[in-house]
């Protein structure tokens, strides 16, 4: 077991820099999820930790060992790939044993570890099958088994669940989490799915275009998003954004001229309101003209526009509501649930 430290990591392909100084401390036994939109550099970062990609600048420490110049096999890591990357011509058992065999571990010890991992993952009966004779979920388990038997310091996952169907994904997600807790091993997990990220991670590193937007616990990210990007990325349905103007008297003027209290600065700001934080109130200052309803059973999503403007808004009300389009509803929001961002930099105020 070991901690993982990233110090100011840069990555360039030729003249294009794709990672611009990534730093972060990952504690021993912690489960960190790297999350961000497609192309933001998640895989690249993970592969630099694994040693599959050359580090252009910066340092990676596993424990207190600097591993920049170590081969992947010497870094004491194990990686699970999106397409599993099992060796098609080897049986499940051989797949799991291959790395151990190369390391010169005794036959007896290899068998012990393989069987133990097979028991944990419940794949014992498939040990003598070839990968092509397994279902996607089973292959996924074998890929994890291959990682477990190495007894690594750090587990690396690159979107390991994205080839599975939705239901299996939820189930495997839980299993990965349980497994990691049981083994107590440090894990770094890459995904572009924010729900997966929120449910799996002790902490999330939100990456955007090669920069770290925020690194914190799921609740921190939800309650105090550090930037517009994080605010829009975390949470479903996504946060409402609207432009407003801070007045000298501490009031905020919305796009339709309505004023609400709670300005943190003067001048233009971007307001963020989560749909689930909008409270229905006939007197409420935030007035939304209803266009479409989405009935989810437990709650109702109300799509509409801010009265008098074209600004799209979504509110989420608990329970079932029947409203005809065109009706105007009033909403309140608690000041501590009103997020304010600098309109220019996108940073939280």
């Amino acid at each position: 077991m070991a901690s993982l430290t990233l110090k100011d990591l840069y990555k360039s392909y030729g003249n294009t820099e794709v990672l611009h100084g990534i730093s972060g401390e990952i504690q021993d036994g912690e489960f960190v999820v790297i999350v961000g939109p497609s192309g933001c550099g998640k895989s690249t970062l993970l592969r630099m930790i694994a040693g599959l990609e050359i580090i252009s600048a910066g340092e990676v420490y596993i424990g207190d060992r600097k591993v920049n110049d170590l081969e992947p096999a010497d870094r004491d890591i194990a990686m699970v790939f999106q397409n599993y990357a099992l060796y098609p011509h080897m049986s499940v058992r051989q797949n799991m044993a291959y790395g151990l065999k190369i390391r010169g571990i005794s036959k007896k010890e290899i068998n012990r570890r393989v069987e133990e991992a097979a028991d944990i993952l419940e794949i014992r009966e498939y040990l003598d099958r070839k990968p092509r004779q397994l279902s996607g979920g089973q292959r996924q388990r074998v890929a994890m088994g291959r990682a477990i038997v190495r007894e690594p310091e750090v587990f690396l996952f690159d979107e390991p669940l994205s080839n599975l169907d939705a239901k299996l994904r939820v189930q495997m997600r839980l299993e990965i989490r349980k497994l990691q807790q049981r083994l107590g091993v440090t894990a770094v997990y890459v995904t572009h799915d924010q729900v997966e990220a929120m449910t799996l991670g002790d902490r999330l590193m939100v990456l955007n275009a090669g920069y770290v937007e925020q690194f914190g616990t799921p609740l921190e990210l939800y309650e105090r998003p550090a930037s517009l990007f994080v605010a829009g990325f975390i949470g479903s349905p996504a946060m409402n954004f609207l432009e407003a103007k801070g007045q000298p008297d501490g009031m905020l003027q919305l796009e339709n001229g309505v004023v609400i209290s709670g300005a943190k600065s003067e001048g233009p700001v971007t307001l963020g309101m989560r749909p689930e934080h909008l409270i229905e109130d006939t007197e409420g200052p935030i007035r939304i003209e209803v266009s479409v309803l989405e009935q989810l059973g437990a709650n109702t999503l109300i799509h509409g526009t801010l009265e008098g403007t074209e600004r799209e808004m979504v509110a989420s009300l608990p329970g079932i509501h029947q409203l005809e389009p065109g009706r105007v509803l009033g909403f309140l929001i608690r000041p501590d649930e009103l997020h304010q961002f600098d309109s220019k930099t996108g940073k939280r105020l």
């Binding site: 694994a50 040693g51 599959l52 081969e71 992947p72 096999a73 010497d74 890591i77 194990a78 990686m79 790939f81 999106q82 397409n83 990357a85 060796y87 098609p88 011509h89 291959y98 790395g99 190369i102 390391r103 092509r132 291959r146």
Partner: protein, 283 residues
């Protein structure tokens, strides 16, 4: 396509039968000719049905000195020569090309693309084109009348290199990466992962190259002057003109039959792998 019109069924069968006849008839004639005695083969009309001399002809062809009146090597020895040449060419080509493809696909070395194009250019230079300089080189190396001389100049193969390159390119990068994480060095990766994954392609290539090697005519004709080194394909032509007298068709045809045998055996035994290697995409 499934059609159930009787006319069409008859027609398709006719077409196939014609095709089979076209291919089989010459082989049948070869077989018939190999089963009569020498005298019968000089009389007209030529026989269309087998005679009773087949085993006798086979014995004198395989073991005897071949044609009467000449001191040629027995055919079994020529077949052995052919076999050594064909196998060396097939294995040599496969070995060299798989290693070159491995280098080109998996290593970044200076002038990598340069080498790639050099190999590419040799596609345009089969033995027939470079026969004089190649002969000169082989002669200077003292390789005339040797198995090495027979096979070495034919071994370098751009086609096979390209085929393996294509095969390797279809193997996902993650395979290499997980092998690296497992601690496999390049050679281990080659032996443990690449070779087994190319198994069917190697088999398909072997069939093609064995037949190519076995059927070589011009090159062996040129560099073997020693009767002991003659290959069976070359000897066929020589038999026609060797004896001053009329050609002994029964012996010549028997030799032809024997010469056809090894390629057929290779195809029959490797058929399954061969088809898999040409069609399979499951990597």
């Amino acid at each position: 396509m499934v059609e159930h019109r009787p006319i069409l069924t008859v027609l398709t069968h006719l077409v196939m039968l014609t095709g089979i006849l076209l291919i089989a008839f010459p082989i049948w004639i070869t077989f018939v000719a190999a089963s009569h005695d020498a005298i019968r083969m000089t009389q007209v009309p030529l026989p269309l049905w087998p005679g009773d001399q087949f085993w006798h002809n086979m014995k004198i062809t395989l073991l005897g000195s071949g044609l009467r009146g000449t001191e040629t090597t027995p055919v079994w020895w020529m077949m052995f020569n052919s076999l050594v040449m064909a196998l060396s060419i097939a294995f040599g080509k496969i070995a060299i090309s798989i290693i070159s493809a491995f280098a080109i696909v998996y290593f970044r070395f200076p002038f990598r693309m340069g080498f790639f194009w050099l190999i590419f250019i040799t596609l345009m230079l089969p033995v027939e084109v470079r026969i004089l300089p190649t002969f000169e080189v082989v002669a200077n190396l003292g390789l005339l009348n040797s198995y090495a001389g027979l096979s070495l100049p034919l071994i370098a193969s751009a086609t096979a290199t390209f085929m393996f390159r294509q095969v390797f390119l279809t193997i996902p990068d993650e395979m290499l990466e997980s092998a690296r994480i497992d601690g496999a060095g390049p050679m281990r990766f080659f032996w443990d992962i690449l070779l087994p994954l190319s198994r069917t392609n190697i088999a398909a290539l072997f069939v093609i190259l064995f037949i190519y090697g076995w059927n070589q005519y011009l090159w062996p004709l040129l560099i073997t002057t020693d009767a002991d080194m003659t290959t069976v394909v070359v000897s066929l032509k020589q038999m026609l003109t060797a004896a001053e007298a009329t050609p002994e068709w029964n012996i010549i045809m028997m030799t032809a039959l024997l010469a056809m045998l090894p390629p057929i055996l290779v195809v029959v035994f490797m058929q399954k792998l061969f088809v898999k290697g040409l069609t399979e995409t499951d990597k």
